[in-house]
């Protein structure tokens, strides 16, 4: 992605290449032809035929191939040591050299904790789970790992993809990729009807604490009310299982029953109301236990009580990564701006700062885009007919996609990734030039 590949483009009418002139600036660090043509593209043709190890001379050749073959899906692989099409010539020395660090988060992995649907389902009620995952991973990648060029993309159906495009990220070894994935992995699968989260007993690791702070906030603001986690019996029971003491569960249930009778509570969100009661009961129980002795109570009792609320929040909403995607340099991942073959939705970029506002049901689809194009053309025609004798006006403008909602997606793409990349590439070029001048290699006259 970073500077070497145009995002694969399944919309023939959209030329994303035009949107990033700085990319194809011949002075660019990776602009040499022998870089782009070592990048693997994989086309999935109709009938689930995978065509792997495709490589192209440049964006124009890639675009031509896409338009000719109309792949149902396009995946992007690593940059290899040689053109992937010549891989047989190189034997074992044919190796992946570079690849963006990628993440895949999928709502199907949340089926045990989402109440609105399962499988391929996605809706405004479960999107907050994705939004909070984007926020947590994005903040971690930037603050902890120091990455800057991070692209988030809607996967077209029920999840999100992340592409970390910093040069240092592209060169990570598989071991280092695994380490990043493990760093972010807190959810450790299911046990006795509860999601197990590794909170490391006593004090939380600062990185986990940072995530927990984001989650605690999102929990009350969006997750709890959107998912209605404490409305019906089975879901309530499931959550109460995380409370460490039977007595505590009983007292929570009693308070719920009393609260339900109060008129004043009728207007409140049931889940929020009930959650407030859980929090209160845990707090009271904790205070009681701590007052028992000067030393602050038995740590075997206090510990689980102190952790249980965070455990509930983390178990329900901490990002669940598909680890395998991130671990290997040569794992393929669907290209941004692809059209999802089942939903027809375009895999548009997401601004991580506004992940909450993203509407997975509102993204442009092939059909909506074609409609918009037609409408725009009709409008132009009308305007042309009104305007005296403007002969050629009925034709298409130079960039008809700018009249569609694809324009917004491209703007997001530029703002969130390309502009930053271009800036740091320019900076790098400039500093290289400075170094070169310093050693007199350019022989420039001042």
């Amino acid at each position: 992605m970073a500077g070497d590949a145009a995002p694969a483009n399944a919309e023939p009418s959209i030329n994303v290449q035009d949107a990033m002139p700085s990319y194809y600036d011949s002075k660019h660090a990776q602009a040499d032809a022998h870089f782009f043509n070592r990048r693997e593209f994989c086309f999935t043709l109709n009938g689930d035929i995978f065509v792997r190890y495709q490589a192209f001379k440049d964006g124009a050749e890639l675009q031509a191939a896409i338009q000719r073959r109309c792949p149902a899906k396009i995946d992007i692989g690593p940059v290899y040591s040689a053109n992937p099409q010549d891989r047989h010539k190189f034997g074992a020395s044919f190796q992946p050299l570079e690849r963006e660090l990628v993440f895949d988060i999928d709502l199907t992995d949340y089926d045990d904790v989402r109440t609105c649907g399962s499988g391929g389902h996605i809706c405004a009620r479960c999107w907050p789970l994705m939004a909070v995952a984007v926020k947590i991973i994005d903040a971690g990648l930037r603050q902890e790992f120091g990455f800057q060029h991070i692209l988030w993309v809607y996967s077209g159906r029920r999840g999100v993809h992340c592409w970390v495009c910093d040069p240092s990220a592209r060169q990570l070894t598989d071991e280092q990729r695994s380490a990043v994935a493990s760093w972010f992995s807190v959810y450790k699968g299911h046990e006795e009807g509860k999601a197990r989260v590794a909170l490391l007993g006593g004090t939380m690791h600062p990185a986990v604490e940072r995530a927990a702070a984001i989650l605690r906030n999102a929990w009350r603001e969006t997750l709890l009310p959107a998912q209605r986690l404490l409305e019906d019996g089975p879901h309530c029971e499931a959550m109460l299982r995380y409370l460490p003491e039977e007595g505590l569960v009983e007292s929570v249930k009693r308070k719920w029953a009393t609260a339900a009778k109060k008129e004043a509570n009728r207007s409140m969100d049931v889940s929020l109301l009930r959650w407030g009661i859980i929090e209160e009961e845990v707090r009271l129980r904790l205070a009681e236990e701590k007052s028992r002795s000067k030393t602050g109570g038995n740590f075997k009792v206090v510990g689980p009580l102190e952790r249980c609320l965070d455990e509930i929040v983390m178990a329900h909403a901490y990002p669940r990564l598909d680890m395998e995607v991130s671990k290997k340099m040569n794992h393929l991942l669907k290209a941004p701006f692809c059209v999802h073959p089942k939903t027809g939705k375009v895999c548009v970029p997401i601004d991580p700062a506004h992940a909450d506002d993203f509407d997975p049901d509102g993204v442009p689809t092939v059909a909506s885009l074609l409609g918009e194009l037609a409408a725009a053309a009709a409008a132009r025609e009308e305007a042309a007919a009104g305007a005296d004798g403007a002969a050629e006006a009925a034709g298409k403008g130079p960039e008809p996609w700018r009249d569609t909602r694809m324009a917004d997606a491209v703007t997001t793409f530029e703002r969130c990734l390309l502009d930053g990349l271009a800036a740091s590439n320019r900076e790098e070029l400039a500093s290289r030039t400075r170094v070169a001048v310093a050693v007199g290699q350019l022989g420039i006259d001042f």
């Binding site: 902890e144 790992f145 120091g146 990455f147 280092q176 695994s178 380490a179 493990s182 760093w183 990185a207």
Partner: protein, 487 residues
């Protein structure tokens, strides 16, 4: 970090002595750790210093500040001995693996004793990728923390065992130590492989014939003395008192054979070989041996049948028949390696007996109960020689030995010595030597390696000892060098 091999002339004798001293420390340290998996760092370090004093005193390998050795001498001896052993242990993957583990442990302990200043110096010199944290970068005072690119410490990142900020991992001194040890291992490992690859070029042509066998033998040295002295020193064994002596002084592998022989009135071939050679080793004369075996085999085997079927073999073992080879007793590795069927009693009992039988057998030797359990658990873990050492301590009620038992004769010699000292003490002679096992165990390593070793004497490399030296001065850089910067 042993980045540069030493280059100076040393005598062949010093070359060997330094290597053997270091080897003794490494081996005994390994045995100590195996026996005491739960010792604290402090205890391990004390042991290491004790072993260094024991083996390296006067060689310049003692702990620095010790009388007679300067820091420079220490460093020199440390370097030479390390590189000589590298040469000896680079030949096969197993040897490399052992040496690497032993040296890494030594390094780990040493690194742990460094003061903060020494840590700084070491890191600056050998691991500059670990940078000091610039003042105020974390907003708190972080005295003992280093920062390193997170990509250098993927295991720590994976386990979320570091703090990450902006791509830097902040590593505490405790967390740093294993990383530096890992880098040390990598360095030594690379050096060993390189040496193995260039083995032929390591020796100058004119020295090759003398040096190669010496270096090669270092790796095979079991550090066990030649126990031939035992037979003459305690030469009071006869057919008549053999069962008595066995009960007091034999290791289990032999007393077990004695018991089986006595109850079954027979022993199969493997058992006969193992026992005969051992009895010969402790000084049982051949005539006494024939007498003993004949009476033990009776009445199941008549005297006549015995002379026909078994006597030849005993005489053969004593070198009086056939090729007249003077066969020597088996050592532990050989015995441990024996396999046998249900009717066989030879081999190492710590390996071959089930736990119940082993407990009962040790009980019959009147072994201390706690030590019985220790022996059983060592045996279970596959440390048969350490199990045997534990049994020794349990039977003789002595503090622990530095090394495992490596030959039945060693066990026997130790046992005789301990008992003799006790009797002397009881008779008002020498004070009881409860810690004596320790000192005696040092014997094999320092005195048991043949003439060259003995001639070195305790005085160390004094120039006056030239007459006792082996050969002329040798260009040591040609020996231990040859791969500059190989670490």
């Amino acid at each position: 970090m042993y980045n540069t091999p030493p280059s100076e002339n040393i005598t062949l004798e010093e070359f060997e002595r330094l290597a053997l001293a270091r080897l003794s420390v490494l081996k005994e340290m390994e045995a100590y750790k195996l026996r005491h998996p739960n010792k604290t760092e402090k205890e391990l370090l004390d042991k290491l210093n004790q072993l260094k004093l024991k083996h390296m005193k006067g060689t310049g390998l003692g702990s620095s500040g010790a009388a007679g050795s300067s820091r420079e001498e220490d460093i020199r001896a440390d370097l030479i001995s390390h590189y000589v052993l590298r040469l000896a242990y680079c030949r096969t993957p197993e040897l490399r693996k052992w040496f690497l583990a032993a040296e890494a442990e030594l390094f780990r302990l040493k690194f742990g004793t460094y003061s903060p200043e020494e840590h700084e110096q070491f890191l600056a010199a050998h691991a500059p990728q670990y940078r000091p944290v610039p003042d105020d970068e974390l907003g708190v005072v972080m005295g003992d923390i280093k920062q390193v690119s997170w990509t250098r410490v993927p295991e720590l990142v994976s386990g979320r065992r570091v703090l990450l900020r902006g791509g830097w991992a902040y590593v505490s001194r405790e967390a740093l130590a294993p990383l530096v040890v890992a880098e040390f291992r990598t360095g030594v490992s690379k050096g060993l492989s390189e040496m193995a690859r260039r083995w032929r070029q390591m020796f100058p042509a004119e020295e090759e014939q003398r040096l190669q066998p010496l270096v090669a033998s270092l790796a095979n040295r079991s550090l066990v003395a030649d126990y031939s002295g035992v037979a003459t020193r305690y030469g009071d064994v006869s057919a008549a008192n053999l069962h008595q002596v066995s009960a007091r002084h034999f290791p289990l592998c032999m007393s077990h054979l004695m018991t089986a022989l006595h109850t079954e009135r027979h022993l199969r071939h493997g058992g006969r070989q193992q026992l005969t050679l051992f009895l010969k080793g402790i000084g049982l004369p051949m005539e006494e041996a024939l007498l003993f075996w004949r009476s033990e085999f009776a009445p199941r085997t008549t005297g006549e049948a015995f002379d026909k079927q078994y006597a030849y073999n005993i005489r053969h073992n004593y070198g009086r028949e056939g090729k007249r080879t003077d066969y020597t007793a088996y050592n532990c590795p050989t015995i441990v390696g024996f396999s046998g069927g249900p009717g066989d009693h030879h081999g190492c009992p710590y390996r071959r007996l089930d736990e119940t039988t082993l407990r009962a057998a040790l009980g019959r030797l009147n072994c201390d109960e706690r030590k019985v359990e220790e022996a059983v658990s060592k045996a279970r873990a596959g440390h048969y020689q350490l199990a045997c050492a534990a049994a020794f301590e349990g039977v003789h009620r002595v503090p622990e030995m530095d090394v495992g038992i490596s030959a039945p004769l060693q066990y026997y010699a130790e046992s005789r010595r301990v008992c003799a000292e006790r009797e002397a003490a009881a008779a008002g002679g020498v004070p009881p030597a409860t810690a004596g096992v320790d000192a005696a165990a040092a014997g094999p390593a320092t005195a048991g390696n043949g003439g060259a070793q003995a001639s070195a004497g305790p005085a160390g490399p004094t120039p006056g000892g030239a007459a006792a030296r082996v050969g002329v001065k040798r260009p040591a850089e040609a020996v231990v060098g040859g791969t500059p910067g190989n670490a």
